[in-house]
Symmetry: C2
Subunit: 192 residues, 2 copies
C-alpha cells in the first residue's frame, strides 16, 4: 500500500510517499516540495500548487493521501494559504478517487517520535530512522510530509486495531497508540 | 465584457454573472448557488464546489472573476472552508486563463449601496435596482456574488480611472469611488 503525506503550504508544500508492507514495515519512495513564488499573484500560486500536487499523485499513484488538518485557531498570517493548499490537495485526491485522511500535527509527531510536541530535528531524525534512510530526508522541511504518511500507516484504527499486532510496535509507537486512543475517546468534534 | 462574481462558501457558494456595457450599463446574465452537503466528507465537499464553479465558468465564459477576499481575522468557524472555496474559485479561473480580482465585502457593499456596512436586504435591493431586475435576485443569498461582480465593473482603477467618465456615476458610485481611492492610498498590505 502506497501512502502519500501532504504538509500543506502555499510557498512550500511538502509531499512524501511511503510503502507500507507487512508487519508495519515502512519504506521510503519519494519526497519533494511543491513550491510557488510569493511574488506571483494568489491565483497563479494556487494553480502552481494544485498542478504540482496533481503531477506527484499521477506519478506515484498512492492508495491514500494523509493531509495535515489545519485549524482556524492557529492565528498565523499564513493559515488561510495553508488551508487553501490543504483544500487543493483534497480536491486533487478526490478527482482521482483516492481516499483522504486528515491528521493533526500532534498525531504525526506522536506517531514518529512518541512525543506530540517534538521539534523539527527530532521529527527528521525519527523519520529517517523509521524509513531506514542513511541521511535525514532532503529537503529537510519535507520530513513533515513523510511523518504524516507514517502517522497514517501506524494509526490505531487501522494497523494497530485488535491489539494482537501491537507486539510488533516500537515503544514510541505503543505510546502513540495509547495517546491516540485516549484522544479519540475524549475528542471534541472540531470540524473545519 | 462578462464579469463573474463569487461569494465563496463551502455549503453555499454564490456565483453570479453580469455584462458590463458602455457607460457603466450593467445587465444581469445569471446567478446561482453551488452547494455541498455538510454531511459529506471534506474532500467530497470541496470537489463538489470545484466542479460546480468550473461548470459555471465553462457555461458563461466570463472575462474576469471577482472573488470576495477572505481575511484570517474573521474568527468564524467557517473561515477555513470559506478560504478553501475562494482558493478553488481562483484555481478554476486560473486553469482557464481568466484574470482574478479580489474585493473585500466592504468594497462590494460600498459599490452597490454607497454604505460599506449595508445589510443583506439593502444589498439585495440595490443589486436588483442596478441590474434592472423586476424582483430581488433569487436565491436571495446569491445577491452578494452579483454585488462582487458589480463592484468590479465599477471599480475606480478601471471604469472610473481618469475622472472624465465620473459624471455618469450615481451619487452612491461617486461616494464609493472616493472611499475606495482613500482606502487605496492608506491601504496596509494584508495579504492572505
Amino acid at each position: 500500500m502506497i501512502i502519500c503525506g501532504v504538509d500543506p503550504g502555499l510557498t512550500r508544500c511538502g509531499i512524501g510517499f511511503i510503502e507500507a508492507g507487512a508487519s508495519h514495515r515502512l519504506s521510503f519512495i519519494h519526497v519533494d516540495l511543491v513550491r510557488s513564488s510569493p511574488h506571483d499573484p494568489q491565483d497563479a500560486r494556487l494553480l502552481a500548487i494544485f498542478n504540482g500536487l496533481s503531477r506527484q499523485l499521477d506519478t506515484y499513484l498512492p492508495d491514500v493521501v494523509s493531509i495535515e488538518r489545519v485549524f482556524a485557531q492557529e492565528n498565523r498570517n499564513t493559515v488561510l494559504g495553508t488551508a487553501q493548499a490543504a483544500g487543493l490537495a483534497m480536491v486533487a485526491a478526490a478527482q482521482r478517487g483516492i481516499p483522504v485522511a486528515l491528521h493533526t500535527p500532534t498525531e504525526a509527531k506522536l506517531a514518529v517520535t512518541g512525543n506530540g510536541k517534538a521539534n523539527k530535528a527530532q521529527v527528521q531524525t525519527m523519520v529517517a530512522k523509521i524509513l531506514s534512510l542513511n541521511a535525514l530526508p532532503s529537503p529537510p522541511d519535507a520530513a513533515d510530509s513523510l511523518a504524516l504518511a507514517i502517522c497514517h500507516a501506524l494509526r490505531p484504527e487501522g494497523a494497530i486495531q485488535g491489539g494482537e499486532r501491537e507486539e510488533h510496535l516500537t515503544q514510541a509507537q505503543k505510546q502513540w497508540a495509547d495517546a491516540a486512543r485516549k484522544a479519540q475517546s475524549s475528542r471534541v468534534h472540531r470540524d473545519m
